[in-house]
């Protein structure tokens, strides 16, 4: 299981639901997030133009479903979106890490290696995702708030206005933070090659 790590997110937004209930709810959250992401992914793969799924809808749906869980239902939708954004990040990064390792033969098991061209695109994306994760971690040590903005916006699909409401800072500030962070992370990823 991917356990939400302690870099600020989950406990800060999820302080009061504790113990087994919380673990179970988070476990469910990961399963759910995974399934939603798969659905999202396969709609992209099919090139389905009528696909209306986007991270925002996805997180909203996840919340509707999770709201039935006692450990999660107590949270406000916005807090939940923060949690879901974190879950998505961790899930995707973990998936990228495993696949990246497999395809590079990192575990000594080169079972997935083929001459499929699309592999290169995937490898790039997985590499970028891992670089993004590292850059975000660095940013969190410099300015935790800014890292949270990027995570919420990219992985959780939160609107600027929602982030503003959640964090209690003005939308203009968030726009500024986002722009600088995005430029900085972007060049970090580029330089990671």
């Amino acid at each position: 299981m991917v356990v939400p790590n302690n870099s600020g997110g989950l406990h800060e937004v999820h302080g009061h639901a504790d113990g087994a209930d919380q673990r179970r709810a988070l476990d469910e959250l990961f399963s759910l997030t995974y399934e939603e992401l798969r659905r999202l992914a396969s709609s992209v793969k099919r090139g389905d133009p009528s696909c209306t799924l986007n991270p925002t809808a996805l997180v909203n749906e996840a919340w509707l479903k999770m709201a039935k869980s006692p450990a999660i239902g107590a949270e406000s939708p916005l807090h939940f979106k923060r949690i879901a954004a974190r879950a998505m990040r961790q899930l995707l990064v973990e998936a990228a890490r495993r696949r990246h390792a497999n395809k590079r033969g990192g575990n000594g098991e080169a079972i997935f290696v083929t001459f499929d061209e699309s592999i290169n695109g995937e490898l790039t994306c997985q590499h970028d995702l891992l670089a993004l994760d590292a850059a975000l971690a660095e940013l969190a040590s410099l300015e935790p708030r800014q890292a949270a903005i990027v995570e919420s916006r990219f992985f959780g699909g939160l609107e600027i206005s929602e982030i503003s409401g959640l964090m209690g800072i003005s939308e203009a500030t968030i726009q500024r933070d986002w722009r600088a962070a995005k430029a900085w992370i972007g060049q970090k990823i580029k330089r990671s090659y």
Partner: protein
């Protein structure tokens, strides 16, 4: 880098980014001075900002796709003794492959749990499915052969490979007759029943999980989200139900609402599959709806009947071959299907076994077990519509009074709503357009298959989609549609819609909001008409409480209706005369104040007349009747049933005054007047008047003629049938007994009176009326010398009547005369 450094970088970045590109370099040179690292960092950021395309500029969807979807799946790999051949399908949980078992050259299906590392609950669910399959051993359920994990820890299991096509597709392609469809469906039911017997609920029944093989046998697949009934860990189970990515089209209301599920959930989904098999379409069109909207539809709406939906779908599916089924067959199939997929789990088939039994009944041409309820409902519908004409009740006019009052105030409400009229008009036009076949195809304008009810059904199903964001209009539309159902005698639907409107209104309105009062009035009306007099009295009282102090014409009109319903439902509930009459008087007062002698005033007078007549207050009744008849006759325009009711009651007065010639003349006049309305098809209203004419004739000594008329009335009542026929027959028995008494046939009279009294003692609250009847029975016994029983009856009934009516009333003197027979 530290925090301060990062802030410095950002500050420079923001300053630079605000400048035109041409000035940025100079600015950086001046600002950064010797700090070349700062300059290059900001420069890189500026380049990225201006045109850099990083992961953050891509959607999450692309990232998910590239990260999660394997470009190189397991094809051609070997897993244990199996070689993967091709992909069969994938769901949220696992991927299913077709594989060959090398040593046996047998084909199998292998289900693999991808990304097992994600969470323990995924692994548990996967293991659960495997356990479930191992547990089930049924020819129609794909069986489990083997289970293991791959080298990298990925779990998988091996099942029977089912080569076939989905049930619905199979039936469509082969144009299966209904018997074949039901036969195949029955096979599915048996498989589900087997699972239930092993404490397993499937929870995801849908055609793609039900395959028909080449040999014509069915197989049930995918127990991926099946649930063990005895599971102790309910909390988690419920959460998981809420979480599952179900196919909403087949999901039960309790599933979409995240409520606990039981075997009823599978019964519901089977019902949906059956619906699709019969109609060729799903019961609800959930395309283009968000999951929340779809959930609302599933949870709050009832589908059109399969028969109606089939007719409607005929144009889009000309090859659907069940359209030629007889009406009787469809009636059964409607019941079968809609009982299985009833919104309320408690009203579905209790088990899949019960569903199978009714399928068998259908196939054998026997009556369905689910049917009695509905039969009564349907055949009683006509009688219920005319229920107010019941012999003993004679309160037909009341229904009319109320109907009129309601329509008057409905019109004014419509005026008030002009504000939203346009919006609602669009909705109505869409609904009518969509229901009208010509809307799709002007050439096929002929099919008269779309009924008003279809339109209303469709409106009901679409309110949420059109007005979900405008609760005020939504409430009003629920109310309007409720009233339309009421007009169409669909009382259950009417009540459901009005209740919905009331519940939504209660969320926002103050307790004394007059709109609540209006809704209570509507509800009381529907309840009264559907014989729920207790509820009607309660809701009418609520309406009165709210509207009593309200000003304004609409509110006064509604209050008038509320008083009327309160009075008539009290009369149904056996309340005292005073309690019945008082609200009716208030209603009349309002009617006079609002309309003078116009509008509902004469009908209100008629209501009071009937109530007084029933209570033996003949003087009052005569006064009210006289005025009502005078107003009606002075008024231009067509007179209808409400006028006939006045004529009938006036004839009854003659009879009570023992003026038989007058009674005969007036009953005949009432019949002559009503004949053109009936178009040769007598309603219970007419039948009732004919019975009273028969009584009058009998009392005048024309026994044979009276008996002939009674026999014909009896035959008509039995032909109409339904649950209320019994009460009509009880009324007829009493009148017939009176003629037998007059003819001196006391044994026959005794039999008639006894039958009548047995019924009325259970079903009629009116003590005095029952005592009059008991007294008549006593007379027939006394005349036969059966003195012991007669004495008891005659004395008791006399005391009751004396106490209620006083010593001088004709009922009292008649009863006294009968009691004296024993001396």
């Amino acid at each position: 880098m530290d925090r301060e450094r990062w802030q410095r970088i950002q500050a420079v970045f923001h300053d630079a980014v605000a400048l035109p590109q041409s000035e940025q370099l100079v600015f950086l040179k001046n600002t950064c001075g010797e700090d070349g690292e700062l300059r290059s960092e900001v420069l890189a950021m500026l380049a990225q900002d201006a045109g850099g395309d990083s992961l953050l500029d891509h959607g999450l969807a692309t990232v998910a796709q590239e990260t999660l979807v394997e470009s190189a799946p397991l094809i051609s790999r070997e897993i244990g003794p199996y070689r993967i051949v091709r992909l069969l399908g994938e769901g949220g949980m696992g991927v299913v492959y077709l594989a060959n078992r090398k040593d046996l050259d047998a084909q199998v299906a292998i289900k693999v749990l991808r990304d097992a590392w994600i969470s323990p609950s995924r692994r548990q669910r996967f293991a659960g499915e495997q356990r479930t399959l191992a547990q089930l051993n049924h020819p129609s359920i794909a069986r489990l052969y083997d289970a293991a994990t791959m080298d990298d820890g990925t779990p998988y299991f091996v099942m029977e490979y089912v080569e076939g096509i989905p049930l619905t597709e199979y039936c469509r392609k082969n144009r299966c007759p209904v018997e074949t469809r039901l036969g195949l469906f029955r096979g599915v039911c048996e498989a589900v029943e087997h699972a239930h017997a092993n404490a397993v609920i499937h929870r995801d029944l849908k055609p793609s999980n039900i395959l028909v093989k080449n040999d014509g046998t069915v197989r049930l697949l995918d127990f991926g989200i099946a649930k063990q009934l005895e599971s102790l860990d309910l909390q988690v189970e419920q959460t998981m139900t809420g979480l599952r990515l179900m196919t909403p089209a087949y999901a039960s209301p309790e599933q979409v609402l995240g409520q606990p599920v039981g075997i009823g959930t599978d019964v519901y989904s089977l019902g949906v599959v059956l619906y699709e098999l019969l109609v060729g379409e799903l019961p609800f069109d959930l395309a283009n709806l968000t999951p929340a909207e779809a959930a609302t539809i599933i949870a709050d709406h009832e589908p059109s009947k399969p028969s109606a939906a089939t007719k409607r779908a005929m144009q889009s599916h000309p090859d659907h071959n069940l359209t030629a089924l007889s009406q009787a067959a469809w009636a059964d199939l409607d019941v079968l299907c809609l009982t299985a997929m009833h919104r309320d789990p408690a009203r579905r088939y209790r088990s899949v076994e019960a569903l199978i039994r009714d399928i068998d009944h259908y196939l054998e041409g026997e009556p369905l077990e689910a049917r009695p309820d509905t039969v009564r409902y349907r055949t009683a519908k006509f009688i219920r519509r005319n229920r107010l004409a019941v012999a003993a009740g004679t309160v037909f006019t009341i229904g009319l009074a109320v109907a009129m009052a309601v329509s008057v105030y409905q019109a004014s409400v419509a005026r008030r709503e002009a504000r939203r009229a346009e919006q609602i008009n669009t909705f109505l036009n869409d609904m009518l357009g969509a229901a009208d076949p010509s809307w799709y195809n002007p050439l096929k304008n002929k099919g008269p298959t779309v009924t008003l009810l279809d339109v209303v059904d469709q409106m009901r199903d679409r309110i949420g989609a059109y007005f979900g964001s405008d609760p005020e209009v939504e409430i009003r539309l629920h109310r309007t549609i409720g009233r339309m159902y009421a007009v169409l005698s669909q009382h259950a639907e009417a009540r459901a819609q009005l209740r919905l409107a009331l519940e939504k209104q209660l969320l926002t309105a103050r307790a004394d909001d007059t709109s609540l009062g209006m809704l209570y009035v509507d509800l009381a009306g529907v309840e009264y008409r559907s014989q729920q007099a207790t509820e009607a009295e309660r809701d009418a009282a609520s309406a009165v409480r709210i509207l009593e102090k309200a000003r304004g014409r609409q509110n006064r009109e509604a209050l008038m209706s509320a008083y009327n319903y309160l009075g008539v439902s009290r009369s149904q509930n056996g309340k005292s005369f005073a309690e019945q009459e008082e609200p009716m008087r208030r209603a009349l007062k309002i009617a006079r104040e609002l309309y003078g002698n116009e509008g509902p005033t004469p009908v209100n007078l008629g209501v009071l007349a009937t109530t007084n007549l029933k209570a033996g207050h003949f003087g009052e009744a005569e006064k009210y009747l006289g005025e009502a008849i005078a107003i009606s006759e002075a008024r231009p325009g067509t007179k209808g049933y409400e006028y006939v009711a006045l004529l009938r009651d006036r004839a009854r007065l003659c009879l009570e005054h023992k003026d038989l010639d007058c009674a005969a003349r007036r009953y005949q006049a009432a019949l002559d007047f009503i004949r053109p309305f009936e178009r040769g098809n007598d309603s219970v209203f007419t039948i009732n008047i004919r019975e009273w004419l028969a009584l009058t004739n009998g009392l005048r000594g024309n026994y044979a003629e009276a008996e002939r008329q009674f026999q014909s009335a009896e035959a008509q009542i039995i032909a109409i049938g339904g649950s209320t026929a019994e009460s009509y027959l009880a009324g007829l028995n009493e009148l017939r007994g009176r003629v037998h008494t007059a003819a001196g046939k006391f044994e026959l009279a005794e039999r008639e009176f006894r039958g009548s009294l047995n019924f009325y003692r259970q079903h009629r609250q009116d003590e005095v009326q029952n005592a009059v009847l008991a007294s008549r029975l006593g007379e027939s016994l006394a005349r036969q010398g059966k003195n012991a029983e007669a004495g008891l009856l005659l004395r008791d009934s006399y005391q009751t009547i004396l106490k209620a009516m006083g010593p001088d009333h004709v009922w009292t003197t008649d009863a006294r005369a009968r009691a004296e027979l024993l001396r």
